[in-house]
């Protein structure tokens, strides 16, 4: 295991080392000490390695991650796992705004709460939040799944495209063109699989409500202008 102590080593050394991992490398495990809220920790990884960050991070931790498993043993600032392509990012604490923004793939697990705009513009990522999420989450979400074990704030799924949202608790309000939908067997199966991947064993898929796009705003209609 390689260890980087960000109290004495520059961030650049960490990210450079993570980018230099080649095929067949024996370096498959990294530990980051004293992140102290640093931005851009472990960004742009493109290899199947494990990174454990011991402490809280600032903006964009694990941004654009591919293949790696990044675990933050603390809280994460805005834009954690933004534009993730694949792999897994786990936040043991809470996450700030824009968690998983524009993510194309992979799994983001937030064991605490997530702030506003969680999953904004998501494009295929799966996000599981064990606590609550803030307002405007899944805004313009295009694809993927957002699972919330707690409650959701205002304007959930505003201007949603084809992403699927599962919320176990209450939803303060739905955004434009977002509606509750039936939980059919395929959704129960999909959600059960996501919960299992996220290590959630004590909650059943049947406890959730599914939300998705009403698809009424996909093509402009002047009679829908009040919705814009």
């Amino acid at each position: 295991m390689q260890t980087f102590d960000l109290s004495v080593q520059p961030l650049r050394e960490l990210n450079q080392a993570l980018h230099e991992i080649g095929d067949g490398s024996n370096e498959t495990s990294f530990e980051v000490l004293n992140p102290r809220g640093s931005h851009a920790v472990a960004v742009g990884i493109d290899a199947p390695v494990d990174v454990d960050v011991r402490g809280s991070v600032g903006y964009y931790c694990a941004g654009m991650n591919s293949e790696a498993t990044v675990t933050v043993h603390g809280n994460a600032g805005p834009g954690v796992a933004e534009n993730m392509m694949s792999g897994t990012v786990i936040i043991k604490g809470d996450a700030s705004q824009y968690a998983g923004a524009t993510g194309h793939g992979g799994l983001l697990v937030i064991e605490g709460n997530a702030s506003s705009r969680c999953g904004i513009s998501m494009k295929g990522i799966d996000i599981v939040v064990k606590g609550d999420i803030g307002h405007m989450s899944a805004f313009m979400a295009q694809a993927g799944n957002l699972v919330v074990l707690g409650n959701a704030g205002d304007a959930l799924g505003d201007s949603l495209y084809e992403a699927t949202l599962f919320v176990r608790g209450s939803v303060k309000s739905l955004g434009a063109d977002c509606i509750a939908k039936d939980m059919r067997p395929e959704h129960i199966e999909l959600l059960s699989g996501l919960l299992e991947k996220a290590g959630v064993n004590d909650v059943k898929a049947e406890e959730f409500t599914r939300y998705g796009s009403a698809r009424q705003l996909y093509n402009f209609d002047i009679d829908n202008a009040d919705a814009y």
Binding site: L11, R12, N15, Q16, H19, H39, A40, V43, G44, D46, G58, Y59, Y60, G63, M64, S66, P78, G79, E82, N83, M85, Q97, Y98, A101, T102, H104, R117, I120, S121, K123, G124, F139, M140, Q142, A143, Y161, E162, Y218, N219, F220, I222, D223
Partner: protein, 442 residues
């Protein structure tokens, strides 16, 4: 009363002119605002309102065909390990695959490469056509992040964070259902045939303090190799430029209101933002006030048409210019050879701007497989290269006439203005006077 009294000539209203009346009728019939492509069509103060003084007794010219006048430009020298080196001070502006056909994007790449300059992706990601045929490719990082992925980020030669564009400062992209083909839909992760309206703000940062952190992330992901541009529309050029520099930009791209768009509301294009001419001096002033002029490069776009425009933009302090609409014309846009087809669409060659409808007779702003065959990427790329070379020769011609051995040595002192408005905007004296409106005389 006699019935033979003379009558007055019918007098159309200057306020309610024919175009205005037609727009009222169109809005009343359809219930939707007018959408079109291109930039501002109204007449605004522009480079034509400036003249070069040339050399005479007090300035020595350079021999037109014998003495060197260099045109090379380095973009991104502030932080990037691998700045972009261009042979000419003219780049190709960001235009998306989706708004443009694949052959059109290939033609832009071929033409730019032949001329020794860069081309730029757009909203919707990077295509193989443009990467494969562009020696230097700038990858736009847009609010929608359609098709954005780290692989393409790494294989780009520079990154352009798009905050705004001149045709619609404060607006997001728009691509209507007719052009969301299977391939475009897949690249953007959208359902086929929807009216795509992109976000106008980035999803994971707000304001210049956040942008500084975002740029830091992009540099870390690309190991500090790629130049990072920040593109802004002509809104508040002094402050926007200063904030882009503060956020860590290597290059500021500033697009005035004549800069084109693939599609947006006519009211947006014609009524929001400032003319290109009015944007340059405030942006240069911001760079000079920060001690960053020439360290952070300034690229100007919006209505650049010929070498005179290039030379004037450079004389006002730009490091390079960027062309979009003119490049499309060079590869065949609005060509009179397709007049019969333009007529069928209710328009005429030179005025066609319904690019969002995907029926472009020239095969450029379309995803129709039959129409796009009308673009021969090799021949169109050659025409673009020719055009870029002509513009460069024209720029050199003017620079030599002003006694400059590099086009960057052109300066405001080489210029005068034909109108009070352009003198005030460009900060150069009104012709025949030493008066710069709004400033002290020199």
């Amino acid at each position: 009363m006699s019935t033979n009294n003379p009558t007055t000539t019918p007098r159309p209203s200057a306020t309610f002119d024919d175009y205005t009346l037609s727009e009222i009728r169109r809005a009343a019939a359809t219930g939707i605002y007018d959408i079109r492509g291109g930039g501002a069509k109204r007449k605004v103060p522009h480079f034509d309102d400036l003249l070069f003084l040339g050399a005479s007794m007090s300035r020595y010219p350079l021999e037109g065909y014998r003495e060197t006048c260099n045109t090379n430009v380095v973009l991104g020298s502030r932080f990037a390990k691998k700045p972009i080196e261009l042979k000419i001070p003219i780049t190709i502006a960001g235009m998306s695959f989706g708004s443009l056909s694949g052959p059109a994007k290939e033609a832009l790449g071929r033409g730019a490469t032949l001329a020794g300059t860069s081309t730029t992706t757009g909203d919707g990601g990077m295509t193989e056509e443009e990467r494969g045929h562009s020696e230097l490719l700038v990858y736009q990082y847009l609010p929608s992040r359609y098709g954005m992925n780290p692989r393409d980020l790494r294989r780009a030669d520079a990154i352009e964070v798009v905050v705004g564009q001149g045709a619609k400062p404060g607006g997001g992209g728009m691509l209507l259902g007719q052009k969301i083909s299977d391939r475009v839909a897949e690249m953007r992760t959208l359902p086929k045939g929807i009216d795509q309206r992109s976000a106008c703000r980035h999803p994971d940062w707000t304001g210049p303090d956040d942008l500084e952190i975002k740029i830091h992330e992009l540099r870390e992901i690309t190991d500090w190799q790629k130049p990072i541009y920040v593109k802004i529309g002509g809104a508040r050029p002094y402050y926007d430029t200063a904030l882009a520099v503060k956020a860590g930009a290597d290059v500021v791209v500033l697009d005035g209101m004549q800069g084109g768009t693939a599609a947006t509301q006519e009211v947006f294009i014609e009524h929001v933002g400032q003319p290109t001419l009015a944007c340059i001096r405030p942006a240069v002033q911001a760079l000079q006030d920060l001690g960053m002029h020439r360290e952070v490069q300034l690229v100007i776009s919006g209505g650049i048409r010929n070498g005179a425009d290039v030379a004037k933009a450079l004389a006002l302090g730009a490091d390079a210019v960027s062309i979009g609409s003119a490049a499309l014309v060079a590869i065949g846009d609005n060509d009179p050879r397709w007049e019969e087809d333009y007529q069928k669409l209710g328009t005429t060659a030179g005025a066609y701007d319904d690019w969002h409808e995907g029926q472009d007779p020239a095969g450029i702003s379309t995803q129709d497989p039959d129409l796009m065959k009308r673009v021969d990427p090799v021949a169109a790329g050659r025409r673009l290269a020719n055009y870029l070379k002509v513009m460069t020769l024209e720029t050199q011609t003017i620079a030599r006439a002003c006694g400059k051995n590099h086009v960057h040595n052109l300066e405001p002192e080489d210029l005068c203005a034909l109108t009070i408005e352009s003198a005030a905007m460009a900060g150069v004296p009104l012709a025949g006077t030493d008066w710069i409106p709004g400033k002290k005389t020199f």
